[in-house]
C-alpha cells in the first residue's frame, strides 16, 4: 500500500518536474516528510500514511509507545512528535506509574524470598526442636537425675516469635513445613514429620531410590563425619532458596542427630518438588 501510494504521487509530481525541467524522479520522495504536521493533533486524518515508519522511530527514540499512528495504519500523522501537552503529561504520568508498579513487583519478590527463607528456617527450627526433645527424653530416661544442660536452641520461643510475624504462614507446602516452628507443639509435629520416614510428607511418584530412606542412618549408628554431605543428596546446584537454606543448615550443623534430621528435611523437600 505504501509503495502504491508513492507511485500515485510520482505520477502527480513527474509532470510538474518535467514541466519545470529541473526535477528528477529521485528527488520527490524526500520532499514528502517536509509536509507540515497538523497543528496540535496526533490524530490528524489528512496526514500521509507513510508517516507510520516515522512514528515507530519516534516512539523508539523516546521510549514511549505512541497511542496512535501504528505503522501502516491510516490516519496517523507524525504522532510521536505531535502529541498534545495533555498527552505528553499523560505519558509522563504513565511512565511514573509503570515505574512504581515495577518497584512494587521488586518489593513483592523480596517479600517472597523472605517468606521462603522463613519457611526454611522454621523447618530447620522444627527439626532441631524435635531432635532436642528426643535427646532430652532419652537423657531423662537414661538418667533421671541428669540435667540436659543449656540447650543449644529454644525452638519453642524461636517459633513463637517467628509466628508472631508470620501469622499462620500456611502458604507453600501445605501441612508440611508451613506450620513448623509456629508453636512448640507445631514445631514438634513438623520435626516429627521431617524425621520420620513414614510421615505425612508426600512421597514422590517416581524415582524411589530414596523411598525407603536408605541414606538415613539408623538410631545409634556411628557418627558420620561432621562436614560430610550424604552421597544421595546431589550437589545442590538446582536448589531453590528453601532447599539451599536447608542444605546450608544441615552442612553447618555439628550435632549428628540434628544434622540427619536436617538432611532428611532436605530430601523430603526435594522429593516434594521443591528446589527444582
Amino acid at each position: 500500500m505504501q509503495r502504491l501510494h508513492g507511485r500515485q504521487l510520482m505520477t502527480c509530481v513527474m509532470p510538474l518536474a518535467l514541466l519545470f525541467g529541473c526535477a528528477s524522479s529521485q528527488q520527490a520522495p524526500p520532499s514528502l516528510p517536509s509536509a507540515p504536521p497538523p497543528p496540535n493533533s496526533g490524530s490528524g486524518s489528512g496526514a500521509s500514511s507513510s508517516a507510520g515508519s516515522g512514528s515507530s522511530a519516534s516512539s523508539a527514540a523516546t521510549g514511549e509507545e505512541s497511542p496512535q499512528g501504528q505503522p501502516g495504519s491510516a490516519g496517523g500523522a507524525l504522532p510521536g512528535s505531535a502529541r498534545t501537552p495533555q498527552e505528553r503529561g499523560e505519558a509522563l504520568d504513565r511512565d511514573l506509574n509503570e515505574s512504581l508498579s515495577k518497584f512494587d513487583a521488586t518489593l513483592a519478590r523480596e517479600q517472597e524470598v523472605l517468606a521462603a527463607k522463613r519457611e526454611a528456617e522454621g523447618a530447620a527450627a522444627a527439626a532441631t526442636a524435635e531432635a532436642e526433645k528426643e535427646a532430652a527424653t532419652a537423657e531423662t530416661a537414661a538418667d533421671g537425675a541428669g540435667k540436659p544442660g543449656v540447650s543449644r536452641t529454644d525452638p519453642g520461643r524461636t517459633g513463637a516469635s517467628r509466628a508472631e510475624r508470620e501469622g499462620a504462614g500456611g502458604a507453600g507446602k501445605p501441612g508440611e513445613r508451613a506450620d513448623a516452628g509456629e508453636k512448640g507443639e507445631n514445631a514438634e509435629r513438623g520435626g516429627a514429620r521431617g524425621g520420620g520416614s513414614s510421615s505425612g510428607t508426600p512421597r514422590p511418584s517416581a524415582g524411589g531410590a530414596e523411598g525407603g530412606g536408605p541414606s538415613t542412618p539408623p538410631e545409634g549408628a556411628p557418627v558420620v563425619v561432621p562436614a560430610g554431605v550424604p552421597p544421595d543428596v546431589g550437589d545442590g546446584r538446582d536448589d531453590d532458596v528453601v532447599a539451599r537454606q536447608l542444605r546450608e543448615a544441615a552442612m553447618s550443623e555439628k550435632d549428628p542427630a540434628l544434622r540427619d534430621k536436617l538432611w532428611q528435611e532436605y530430601r523430603d523437600y526435594k522429593k516434594s518438588g521443591g528446589g527444582e
Partner: protein
C-alpha cells in the same frame, strides 16, 4: 608506765575498707511498666516513629583494648541493630504511635526520629545514649539510659533450657525495663505537643519528603532557620497532582522500609537465641568476677589495715615485761595476719583473670555465631537500598520532567535532584 596502744582509728579504717570493698552491687532496678494506650488513638494524632540503627560505640577504638573488656566489634554492630529493634517493638506495642520502624541513619520524612549509641552492653548492664527529635528539627530530649539486667529473665531462660523444649515461657528481654523507660519518655514528650503541633510535625515530615524527592516543586514550602529548625511557609493544595505523585512515592518508601524491617526481623530472630545465651553466660561471669574483685579488695584492704595497725602499736620500752610481751604478740599477729590477708587478696585477684578470659571467650564464640548473620543482613539491606536509591533517583528525574512539563518553568539541569535535609544536632557517634 603506759599500756601499749594503737594510735590509729582502726574502726574508721575498717569502715572505710568495707565501703571501698563494697561492690557496685547489682541492686535490681525498679520495674518500669510500659504505658500502653487505653484505647485506639485517632489517626490524626498518630506520629510515625523511625528508630535509627544505633551507633555501635566502638568506632575508632582499639580492638585489643575493646577485647580486653570483652567487647567485640561485630557483637556491638549486631547489637546496634538488635537493641533498636527491641525498642521499636516496645514502642509499637505501646499503641501510642503510628508506624514504628527501624530505619537507616538519616532517613528523611519521618515524623519522629529516635537515635542512639551503645555505651555499654555486657549482659549485666546496658547503657545507651538516646535522643529524639521531630521532623521540624526540634529535639525532644537526649539522655543516658542505664539499666541492670533483670535476673528473672535469665532465670526463666535457664529454666526453659533445663526443662527442654516442652517448657515455653513468655519471652522477656533482660533490659525490657530500660526500653520501657525510653518509650515512656518518648510518650511524655509527645503528650506535651498540642494537636496543632502534631499536625505541623506531620505536615513538615510530609513536605520534607516531598522536597527531597521533588525539590523543584516543594522546596519553597519549607524554610530552614539558622538554628536548623524547619518551619512551614505554606501548604500545597490537597488535590495538587504533584503532591499526590509524591504521596505515591512516599507509600513506596514506606514499603521499602517495611521490607528492610523484615530483613532486620529475620536477623533479630536468628540472633536472639545465641545473643540471649551469650548475655546469660556473660552475666554469670560478670557476677562472679565482681564477687572475686569485691572479696579480693576487701581482703587486701583489711590486711593492709592490720599491717599498719600492727606497725603502729607502740612498744614504749618501759620494761613492763608482761605488757610488752602482750603488745608485741598482738603486733606480730596483726602484721602476720595482715600480710596473709593481703596475699590472699592478691591471690584471689588473680582468679579474676580466669573470669575475664571466660568473658572474652564467650564474646568471641558469640561473635563467630553472629558475624555471618550480620554479613547476611547487611548484604540484604545494602542490595535493596541500592535498588531503592537508583529507583528514587529515577523518580526524582521523572518528577522534574513532569514539573517542567506542567509549569513550563525551566530548571537547571545541573541542580541537585535533592535538597539537603536539615538535620538537628545529632547524638555523637562512636
Amino acid at each position: 608506765m603506759r599500756a601499749a596502744h594503737v594510735r590509729v582509728p582502726v574502726g574508721r579504717l575498717v569502715a572505710l575498707a568495707l565501703a571501698l570493698a563494697a561492690s557496685p552491687a547489682l541492686a535490681a532496678d525498679k520495674p518500669v511498666e510500659l504505658k500502653v494506650a487505653s484505647g485506639e488513638v485517632p489517626e490524626e494524632s498518630l506520629l510515625d516513629v523511625g528508630v535509627e540503627v544505633f551507633a555501635a560505640g566502638v568506632e575508632d577504638r582499639d580492638e585489643d583494648e575493646l577485647a580486653d573488656k570483652g567487647i567485640l566489634a561485630e557483637v556491638r554492630r549486631s547489637e546496634a541493630r538488635f537493641i533498636p529493634f527491641r525498642l521499636r517493638d516496645t514502642l509499637q506495642g505501646s499503641g501510642h504511635w503510628g508506624a514504628v520502624r527501624l530505619v537507616p541513619v538519616d532517613t528523611v520524612g519521618l515524623d519522629v526520629v529516635v537515635s542512639g549509641r551503645i555505651e555499654r552492653s555486657d549482659g549485666k548492664q546496658l547503657r545507651l545514649r538516646v535522643s529524639a527529635h521531630d521532623a521540624t528539627g526540634k529535639k525532644w530530649w537526649e539522655r543516658t539510659y542505664e539499666g541492670k539486667a533483670d535476673r528473672r529473665a535469665y532465670a526463666a531462660q535457664n529454666a526453659a533450657a533445663t526443662a527442654g523444649p516442652t517448657l515455653e515461657l513468655p519471652r522477656r528481654d533482660p533490659f525490657q525495663d530500660l526500653y520501657n523507660r525510653i518509650a515512656n519518655d518518648l510518650l511524655a514528650a509527645r503528650q506535651k505537643l498540642k494537636a496543632k503541633d502534631v499536625a505541623r510535625v506531620r505536615d513538615v515530615a510530609r513536605l520534607r519528603f516531598a522536597a527531597s524527592i521533588a525539590p523543584d516543586a516543594f522546596a519553597g514550602y519549607l524554610k530552614t532557620g539558622n538554628d536548623g529548625r524547619v518551619s512551614l511557609v505554606r501548604l500545597p493544595a490537597a488535590e495538587d497532582p504533584m503532591l499526590q505523585r509524591v504521596t505515591s512515592i512516599r507509600d513506596r518508601d514506606g514499603m521499602f522500609v517495611d521490607t528492610l524491617n523484615e530483613f532486620y526481623a529475620g536477623f533479630v530472630d536468628r540472633m536472639a537465641k545465641p545473643y540471649d545465651d551469650w548475655r546469660a553466660y556473660s552475666f554469670e561471669e560478670q557476677m562472679a568476677l565482681d564477687k572475686i574483685r569485691r572479696e579480693s579488695r576487701l581482703k587486701t584492704i583489711l590486711g593492709a589495715i592490720a599491717i599498719i595497725g600492727g606497725a603502729m602499736i607502740d612498744d614504749d620500752g618501759d620494761n613492763d615485761g608482761d605488757r610488752d610481751t602482750a603488745s608485741g604478740g598482738i603486733k606480730d599477729v596483726l602484721i602476720a595476719g595482715g600480710a596473709i590477708a593481703v596475699q590472699a587478696g592478691l591471690e584471689q585477684g588473680k582468679e579474676a583473670g580466669v573470669h575475664k578470659a571466660a568473658i572474652r571467650e564467650l564474646a568471641e564464640s558469640f561473635e563467630a555465631e553472629v558475624a555471618p548473620l550480620l554479613v547476611d543482613v547487611e548484604g540484604q539491606t545494602l542490595r535493596l537500598s541500592g535498588t531503592a536509591e537508583a529507583q528514587f533517583g529515577q523518580w526524582r528525574q521523572m518528577l522534574r520532567d513532569i514539573f517542567v512539563h506542567e509549569t513550563g518553568v525551566p530548571t537547571d539541569p545541573n541542580a541537585p535532584l535533592t535538597v539537603p535535609a536539615p538535620v538537628p544536632t545529632r547524638t555523637p557517634k562512636g
